[in-house]
């Protein structure tokens, strides 16, 4: 019975995850065929060649965590406001409004940001108040702004849920014991909302690590991610084995960071469990 229920997921995993991953792994030890693509071989050259793309790795590994952190920092007050301050009647409406940008095409939204961050956008307004020579588009800042904008709707709901579940009497108990509102926030609210922050951060981090559209549009080819390197290697220079090696490296890095992160969050294993009850 259990086996029957698990079968669809098993088939799904086998065909869409394990087999492709195995193919990529095999490719990564091969050679580029003269006309592009894959030629069978067994060599570590592709891996030894990884430093050639170090710029993409460095960009991804700094901007993805930073973008995640920034999104979490901005999402938290929004979620807090929704869960604690807004009357229950308006909560759903406001959550929907936060999700609204998600309904329009991603490309359209990025084009809007290109306009806003470009020379005729925000920099020109800043110039009006005397702040000149600000460049935003095609800088890491543009990518970070895009990341926060794009992923806020994914970060807010999990944090909202954990704050909504938070027993408000705990906040009163904390105040009763002499904690100022700020202490109460850091000692009670934040730790108990951590599971939500962890979930949201994981989601955003994974998506950012693999993203290539955001850096392509807002980074304009100057700030590029591993994803952009992959597009280039697979579709432009058609060096599939090298692309495969880059992919394997990306997957490994993600596995390690996610594992470390989960370990960190779960290290307060029963705290987390407690926060969920």
């Amino acid at each position: 019975m259990t086996a029957a229920l698990l079968a669809p997921a098993g088939v799904f995993f086998l065909f869409l995850l394990i087999i492709p991953l195995a193919v990529v792994l095999v490719f990564s030890f091969g050679e580029r065929a003269p006309a592009g693509g894959y030629a069978a071989a067994f060599t570590f050259d592709n891996y030894l060649n990884l430093p050639a793309r170090s710029k993409a790795f460095i960009n991804t590994l700094t901007l993805a965590p930073l973008g995640t952190l920034l999104t979490a920092i901005i999402a938290f007050p929004v979620a807090y406001f929704l869960a604690v301050k807004v009357s229950p009647r308006w909560r759903v409406t406001m959550l929907v409004l936060i999700m609204a940008p998600f309904w329009t095409s991603q490309l359209l939204r990025y084009y809007a940001w290109i306009m806003l961050l470009g020379a005729k956008g925000i920099p020109s307004w800043l110039a009006l108040i005397g702040i000149t020579d600000v460049r935003l588009i095609n800088t890491p800042w543009a990518v970070l702004i895009g990341a926060v904008y794009g992923f806020l709707p994914l970060m807010v709901p999990p944090i909202y849920v954990s704050l909504e579940k938070l027993d408000k009497r705990l906040l009163e108990a904390s105040a009763d014991l002499g904690a100022t509102p700020v202490s109460t926030f850091f000692q009670i609210t934040l730790p108990l909302a951590l599971p939500g922050v962890a979930t949201g951060s994981m989601l955003v981090f994974i998506l950012l690590m693999g993203d290539y559209i955001l850096p392509q549009y807002l980074g304009g080819g100057k700030v590029f991610f591993i994803g952009n390197a992959l597009v280039d290697l697979f579709l432009q220079s058609r060096n599939w084995p090298f692309g495969a090696a880059v992919s394997v490296a990306l997957v490994l890095i993600m596995l390690v960071t996610i594992y470390a992160y989960m370990r960190f969050v779960l290290s307060r294993g029963d705290r987390r469990r407690a926060a969920l009850v």
């Binding site: 027993d167 009497r169 705990l170 009163e172 108990a173 904390s174 105040a175 009763d176 014991l177 002499g178 904690a179 100022t180 509102p181 202490s183 109460t184 000692q187 009670i188 730790p191 108990l192 307060r268 029963d270 705290r271 407690a274 926060a275 009850v277």
Partner: protein
């Protein structure tokens, strides 16, 4: 004169157009165990929350140790509360829960001092060695004691307890009542307990304050409330009583069931009774140390009589349908406002 640790001066609280507390004047004396007793929705919790600082009065003032604290937020008030469902912090261990209040103080007390105080507080509530436990691993009674330790460690001017025993089963509740009383005597901290259980209020407190629909009806020792209720409401709420029509309009005669004498016949009744009549036994409830009869007489109607076991042994028990004689002394009957 004893100092008042908490005082309500003409305190009222409105929620929209619901008046939860109406023009209360209440003075809690230092070191006493005071209970606020009243039915559900009469404003007990609201009163407590105004003392703790979670609510501010709509009008009137709150004084703590002679200082006007009206408008002062909860975290700046020297009182602590034990919440009905304890509100223990689930992500903190027992000792971190208990030390929470001390750790909020500035300057921060030394770690060793905090640890020592936590050990003492846990020992006080008989939870020695439970410090590193998780709160959700504890039983209801143990959680209750952690909540007590967490509040008492701060040596508050008053400990506020909002139906602290309501979530416990009957047996445990009895034990905790005794424990709370002992604790209060040992630590010498003023306790203010809210309950709708009259037995609890009467057995534990030095003084009881009876509330009704937002108003204080009577404040006094359990004995005063029982023997000298100011009106029918208090007589009914504190103990049991029979009420008979009185000659005066707007008044009733209240007679406690255990103050009524019973005998097989009028002749067997003791001397000096102001009222005596024949009655028929309608029902009998065996209560162990005493027996409660429901009786009916032509002149007085139906009412309850309670006889101690001892009297029953001497004179024998009555059966349903028996015709008996009942009566009471002048001091047993109290003329009370019918409100």
């Amino acid at each position: 004169m004893k100092q008042n640790v908490i005082e309500f001066r003409n305190v009222s609280k409105l929620f929209g157009n619901v008046a939860a507390v109406i023009d209360n004047n209440l003075a809690v004396e230092a070191g006493e165990f005071l209970s606020i007793l009243g039915p559900s929705g009469c404003g007990k919790t609201t009163s407590l929350r105004m003392m703790a600082g979670f609510e501010q009065p709509t009008s009137g003032e709150v004084y703590i140790r002679g200082e006007n604290v009206t408008g002062v937020p909860a975290f700046r008030r020297p009182v602590n509360m034990v919440f009905q469902h304890y509100a223990l912090f689930p992500h903190l261990s027992v000792q971190d829960n208990v030390s929470y209040g001390l750790r909020q103080r500035r300057p921060r007390p030394a770690t060793a001092d905090v640890a020592k105080a936590v050990d003492e507080a846990l020992s006080m509530v008989r939870l020695d060695g439970y410090g590193s436990r998780r709160t959700y691993e504890l039983s209801g009674g143990q959680q209750q004691r952690v909540a007590l330790a967490r509040a008492l460690i701060n040596r508050p001017a008053v400990l506020l307890l909002d139906e602290p025993l309501a979530a416990l089963d009957r047996k445990l509740r009895r034990d905790m009542q005794v424990e709370l009383q002992n604790l209060q005597r040992n630590v010498g901290i003023t306790f203010l307990l809210v309950t709708h259980d009259q037995e609890e209020a009467l057995s534990m407190s030095d003084r009881v304050c009876v509330m009704r629909e937002g108003r204080l009806v009577q404040v006094g020792t359990p004995r005063e409330l029982y023997d000298k209720p100011v009106n029918r409401y208090v007589a009914e709420f504190v103990g049991k009583s029979n009420f008979f029509k009185a000659g005066e309009a707007g008044k009733v005669t209240s007679v406690r069931p255990e103050l009524i004498d019973v005998a097989k016949s009028k002749k067997a009744l003791p001397d000096g009774l102001v009222t005596s009549t024949e009655a028929k036994v309608l029902n009998r409830i065996f209560l162990g140390e005493q027996t409660e009869y429901r009786v009916a007489s032509e002149s007085l109607g139906e009412f309850a009589v309670v006889t101690p076991r001892k009297a029953e042994r001497e004179a024998g028990a009555f059966d349903i349908g028996d015709r008996i004689a009942v009566g009471w002394r002048a001091e047993a009957a109290r003329l009370l406002p019918d409100e």
